[in-house]
Amino acid sequence: MPATSSKSAYWRGLRTALPFLLMVFPFGLLFGVVGTEAGLNLAQVMGFSILVIGGASQFAALQLMTENAPTIVVLASALAVNLRMAMYSAALAPHLGAAPTWQRILVGYLNFDQTYAIGVQEYETKPELSIGERVGFFLGAATVFAPTWYFATLIGAVLGETVPPEMALDFAVPITFLAMIGPALRTPAHMVAAGVSVALAILFAGIPYNLGLLLAAIGAMMAGAEVERRMGAR
């Protein structure tokens, strides 16, 4: 496949992703601010955004770290937040599985909510694309998101030192998560899962080491799956 078509696919991916930039920047900014306020230094805040590059899991880890949860609980909870990306990986595999290993590693690193959504939509509407064009498109979209995420985190971390306590940023993390949960309540099964999650979190609040969180999540996940199964079976 000529390199020119991969290149034009790259630019098309970049243009497709541009409008979503507005969603990514504020989250990165907020992570930088809240991470710095929580006591992380600049390198650590940037380490999160570069090595993990997953907003919700970074906020989850940060929250549990401010509660001094055991390392294993921090890791298990934050990784649970990212488990959905195994689904993205499975959805991308039929389209990108034929790419060279180094390209699949790059795609793996950059496989998050926005790139997955934009990529899969492109591949499903244009099945005629070559493997080079598919990878080019994906990397084009990622070029919009990843550097923006790093840069926004950096700005937030630098600004974080100067944010006065009256801004009540202690509550920015709950608000950010609620802002992600609201749009995710798409079906009755999602609502039941969220409801069970809240109820079990209250019930298990006394369990030490924040382990109640993982138990609540497992129960809520099973509740959501069960509601879906029953509604589908009807």
Binding site: G47, R84, A168, A179
Partner: protein, 109 residues
């Protein structure tokens, strides 16, 4: 936060590696094979199962008030959730939540 620098870096590194392995799983290690229905059905609800449990104690018993339930923070949480649900736009939801928080803190607190 009471972790040492090394502990913080260990969390960051392990979380980075674990997240990469999740993202790379089917692209690289497991190949192109169909996932069983029951597994997909559970994966679909992971985010919506863990995030509410994570924030429920923070909303009901905020650290900033020493664990005392706070009407301003409850109102802000309700605003963020409602706007997020209705508009499907997380940015509007965050702005509404913060706006409600400042308004209510000014009026009540």
């Amino acid at each position: 936060m009471e972790y040492s620098g090394a502990e913080i870096w260990r969390i960051i590194l392990l979380l980075g590696i674990g997240t990469f392995l999740i993202r790379y799983s089917f692209l690289g290690l497991l190949g192109d094979r169909p996932l069983p229905d029951w597994l997909l059905r559970h994966l679909r609800y992971t985010a919506v199962a863990i995030l509410p449990a994570l924030i429920t104690p923070l909303v009901l018993w905020p650290q900033a008030t020493g664990g005392e339930t706070d009407p301003a923070r409850l109102g802000a949480a309700a605003a963020a959730l409602a706007v997020g649900y209705l508009t499907k736009n997380p940015i509007w939801a965050i702005l509404s939540g913060l706006g409600a928080l400042y308004l209510l803190l000014y009026l009540i607190g």
